[in-house]
C-alpha cells in the first residue's frame, strides 16, 4: 500500500511555557514533540504496512526544527520524509494548510492509497485539517477512526461517533483521521534513530518547489484571523480547608453539601 501520513510538531504540553500576564506563548522555549494523535496515525500506517506491505511517506509542515519528528518517523519505519518549510507557509489556517498538504501529496505521491492524519492536534485543536484535506484531494474520508482494516480496495473502519459505534467502508484512495484510543504507538529504537540521522534524509520543500498559489497559502490564503490570544481568567474563589481530616470532611458537607447532593441527585440530610 502507498501510505501517506501527515504529522505535526507541537509544543510539548507538559511544559508549556506561556506568560500568564500577556497570555503569549513563548514558543521558542517550548520543546517540540510529535503531536500525540499524529503518532497514533503513524502507528496505524506502520501496522498496515506490516500486514499488507507498502511504502510510507511522512509529510510535515513547519519550521526547520520540525525535521525532528520526521527523523523520528523514519526511525519508526517510514520510508520517506518530507518537510514543507517556507516562511510563506507560516500562519496559515486550516483552509490554507489543507491546500498546501493536498498539493504536496499530489506532487510527491500522486498514486497514494490512503492518507492518515491525527484526529486533532494538541496545540490548535481544530481537528479540521483532515476533513478539509479530503475535500482538497477530492477523496472519501472518515474522521476519528479507531480501527482500520483493508480488504482489497476497500477500507473498513470502526469509530465511536456521538454515542454510535459505527462501522463504515469506503473505496481507496481515501483519508482517515486516527484517534488516540487504539494503535498504541511504539517507541523508536535508539539504533533506528541513529540510522535515521546517518543514512536517511528528510527532504525539505518550499512553496516554490510545490508550485503553490501564493494567494492560497500562509496568512494570505487564510480565511480566519486571530485577533487576540489570552489565558482564561482563573477567577475561581478558592476555599482552602486544612486541619484534622474529620473536621475537614464535616466542613465540606456543611458548606458544600448542596452542591454535592445536587450532583448525586439525592438528599444528603439522612443523618437527621
Amino acid at each position: 500500500m502507498n501510505l501517506v501520513v501527515c504529522i505535526k510538531q507541537v509544543p510539548a504540553v507538559s511544559e508549556l511555557p506561556w506568560d500568564p500576564q500577556s497570555g503569549t506563548l513563548k514558543r521558542n522555549l517550548a520543546e517540540g514533540m510529535m503531536n500525540p494523535a499524529c503518532r497514533h496515525a503513524l502507528e496505524a500506517a506502520l501496522r498496515l504496512k506490516e500486514i499488507h506491505g507498502g511504502y510510507i511517506t511522512a509529510i510535515s509542515m513547519g519550521p526547520p526544527a520540525a525535521a525532528e519528528i520526521l527523523h523520528e518517523a523514519l526511525a519508526l519505519g517510514a520510508d520517506k520524509a518530507v518537510l514543507l518549510s517556507d516562511p510563506k507557509l507560516a500562519g496559515g489556517d486550516t483552509l490554507a494548510t489543507s491546500y498546501t498538504l493536498g498539493r504536496a501529496i499530489y506532487k510527491l505521491c500522486p498514486d497514494f492509497d490512503l492518507v492518515l492524519c491525527g484526529c486533532h492536534t494538541s496545540d490548535s485543536e481544530t481537528a479540521q485539517v483532515g476533513p478539509q484535506l479530503c475535500v482538497e484531494l477530492d477523496i472519501p474520508g472518515v474522521a476519528n477512526v479507531e480501527h482500520l482494516q483493508v480488504r482489497g480496495r476497500t477500507l473498513i473502519m470502526r469509530r465511536l461517533a456521538d454515542n454510535f459505534l459505527e462501522t463504515l467502508e469506503m473505496d481507496l484512495p481515501g483519508l482517515v483521521t486516527v484517534t488516540t484510543k487504539q494503535y498504541l504507538p511504539r517507541y523508536a529504537s535508539l539504533g533506528g534513530l541513529n540510522e535515521a540521522f546517518q543514512s536517511s534524509e528528510v527532504r525539505t520543500l518550499t512553496a516554490a518547489d510545490l508550485d503553490l498559489d501564493g494567494d492560497k497559502v500562509g496568512v494570505a490564503g487564510s480565511a480566519t484571523r486571530i485577533r487576540a490570544v489570552y489565558a482564561p481568567q482563573a477567577a475561581k474563589e478558592n476555599v482552602v480547608l486544612k486541619g484534622a481530616v474529620k473536621d475537614i470532611v464535616e466542613e465540606l458537607f456543611n458548606r458544600f453539601g448542596d452542591r454535592i447532593a445536587g450532583a448525586i441527585g439525592k438528599d444528603l440530610n439522612g443523618r437527621q
Binding site: 520543546e31 514533540m33 526544527a65 525535521a67 525532528e68 527523523h71 523520528e72 517507541y187 523508536a188 529504537s189 535508539l190 539504533g191 534513530l193 541513529n194 540510522e195 540521522f197
Partner: protein, 382 residues
C-alpha cells in the same frame, strides 16, 4: 567548537525522556521502596537497544556515539537512577571490554545476547579487601588443562543478582603486580557460581547489588578476555568508559533534583509568597543550574574525545569527579529547599539524595579520580 546539541542528540534525548517518564516515572518511587528490579520494563527496553548502546549493528546494537550514550544514561537516571545504573554498568564495564578486547569468537558468542538484553552484564573487581586498590584482589584463577578454575568472592556487584555473564577480575600470577590479573567471562550457569544476598543499600535500591561466589568454577580458556595478565589494562580501560556513564548518571540525578527544586520553590508559599521569590533560594537555584551546566560540558567533552579516539582518562575522571560531587550537592540543596517535605519519602528529592551519594564512591571514588587527574597533570610536559 560547537556548543549546540545537534538534532540527533536532541531527538535521542526526547525519545529516552519520553520512554523513561512513561515507563519508569510511575514506578521509580515504588521499586526503590520495595527494592524490586522491574523486569517488565527491561522487557520493553530490550528491542529499543538500551542494552547495546554502542554495540555495532552487526551484533544487534544501536552503534551510538558516546554523547548519545551519555544522554541516554542521563535521561534514564533523571527518572530512575537504579535503572540508569543497570544500563550503564551493563554497557560500559560489562560489555565494552568484550567489544574492545574480545576475540571474534567471543564477540559472536556474547555480544548479540548482551546487546539484545537477553543477558545482563556486570563487572567484578571489588572484594572484601580490594576496592580502590585492585592489587588486593584475592579471587584467583588457576589453569587446569584447557580451563581455568576460579575461586573467590566478589562483593557489591552492580546487577549482581541479575547478570548473566559478568566479567570476573581474578589473579592469575600472584607474583606480578602489573600483569598478575586477568579477566574472565563467567556465565552464571557455570557450576560453582552463586549469587549472594542482595545488599540493603542506602540508594539505587531497585538495582540488585549483591555478592557473587565462585567456588571451583571451571571456565573454559575461550572465556579469557584478552591475554593472560591483561587484567589491569582491561580494567582501566573499562573504568574510563564506565566513568563517563557514572558521570552521566550523576548528572541525570542532579537534573531531576534541580527540576524538583525549581517546581517546588515556585509552588511553596511562605510569608505569603512563593519561596522562589527569596534571594536565598534564588542563589541556591542559580548555583545548582551553573554546576549542572558545567558538569554537562565536562562530560560531553570527555565523550567527544573518546569518539575522536584521543586519550580521555583524565577528562573522564574530571567529569566523573565533578558530576558526582555536584549531584550530591545539588540533591542535598534540593532537599534543603523542600524543607521537611524533602526529608519525607513522599517526595522524590529524598530518593535523589540517597541515590546521588554512591556516584562519589563507585567506579572509582572521588579520591581515586583525583589520583588519576593528578597523575595526568603531573606527567604533562611543562
Amino acid at each position: 567548537m560547537n556548543f549546540y546539541p545537534c538534532m540527533k542528540h536532541t531527538v535521542i534525548r526526547k525519545t529516552v525522556r519520553a520512554f523513561a517518564e512513561t515507563e519508569l516515572g510511575a514506578i521509580a518511587h515504588d521499586i526503590d521502596q520495595e527494592a524490586r528490579f522491574p523486569w517488565e520494563v527491561i522487557e520493553k527496553m530490550r528491542p529499543l537497544h538500551f542494552f547495546g548502546l554502542q554495540v555495532p549493528k552487526e551484533y544487534g546494537g544501536a552503534d551510538l556515539d558516546s554523547i548519545s550514550y551519555a544522554i541516554t544514561i542521563e535521561e534514564l537516571s533523571r527518572v530512575c537512577a537504579a535503572i540508569g545504573l543497570c544500563v550503564t554498568v551493563h554497557n560500559s564495564v560489562g560489555l565494552y571490554p568484550i567489544l574492545t578486547f574480545g576475540t571474534d569468537e567471543q564477540k559472536r558468542r556474547f555480544l548479540p545476547r548482551l546487546a539484545g538484553g537477553e543477558i545482563i552484564g556486570g563487572f567484578c573487581i571489588t572484594e572484601a579487601n580490594a576496592g580502590s586498590d585492585a592489587g588486593g584482589v584475592e579471587t584467583h584463577a588457576v589453569k587446569d588443562g584447557d580451563s581455568y578454575i576460579i575461586n573467590g568472592t566478589k562483593i557489591f556487584v552492580t546487577n549482581g543478582a541479575i547478570c548473566g555473564a559478568p566479567l570476573i577480575f581474578a589473579v592469575t600470577n600472584p607474583k606480578s603486580a602489573k600483569r598478575g590479573a586477568s579477566v574472565f567471562i563467567v556465565e552464571k550457569t557455570t557450576p560453582g557460581f552463586a549469587v549472594g544476598e542482595i545488599e540493603d543499600l542506602c540508594g539505587m535500591r531497585a538495582n540488585p547489588v549483591s555478592s557473587l561466589f565462585l567456588e571451583d568454577c571451571r571456565v573454559p580458556e575461550e572465556n579469557l578476555l584478552g591475554k593472560v595478565g591483561d587484567g589491569l589494562k582491561i580494567g582501566l580501560a573499562a573504568l574510563d568508559t564506565g566513568r563517563l556513564g557514572i558521570a552521566a548518571q550523576a548528572l541525570g540525578i542532579a537534573q531531576a533534583a534541580f527540576e524538583a527544586a525549581v517546581r517546588y520553590s515556585k509552588e511553596r508559599q511562605q510569608f505569603k509568597q512563593a519561596i522562589a521569590s527569596f534571594q536565598t533560594i534564588q542563589n541556591m537555584l542559580a548555583d545548582m543550574a551553573t554546576e549542572i551546566d558545567a558538569g554537562r560540558l565536562l562530560l560531553y567533552r570527555a565523550c567527544a574525545m573518546k569518539d575522536a579516539l584521543s586519550p580521555f582518562s583524565a577528562e573522564a575522571a574530571m567529569a566523573k569527579l565533578y558530576c558526582s560531587t555536584l549531584a550530591t550537592r545539588v540533591s542535598g540543596q534540593a532537599v534543603q529547599i523542600h524543607g521537611g517535605y524533602g526529608y519525607s519519602k513522599e517526595y522524590d528529592v529524598e530518593r535523589y539524595y540517597r541515590d546521588a551519594k554512591v556516584t562519589e564512591i563507585y567506579e572509582g571514588t572521588s579520591e581515586v579520580q583525583r589520583m588519576v587527574i593528578a597523575r595526568s597533570v603531573l606527567t604533562r610536559p611543562s
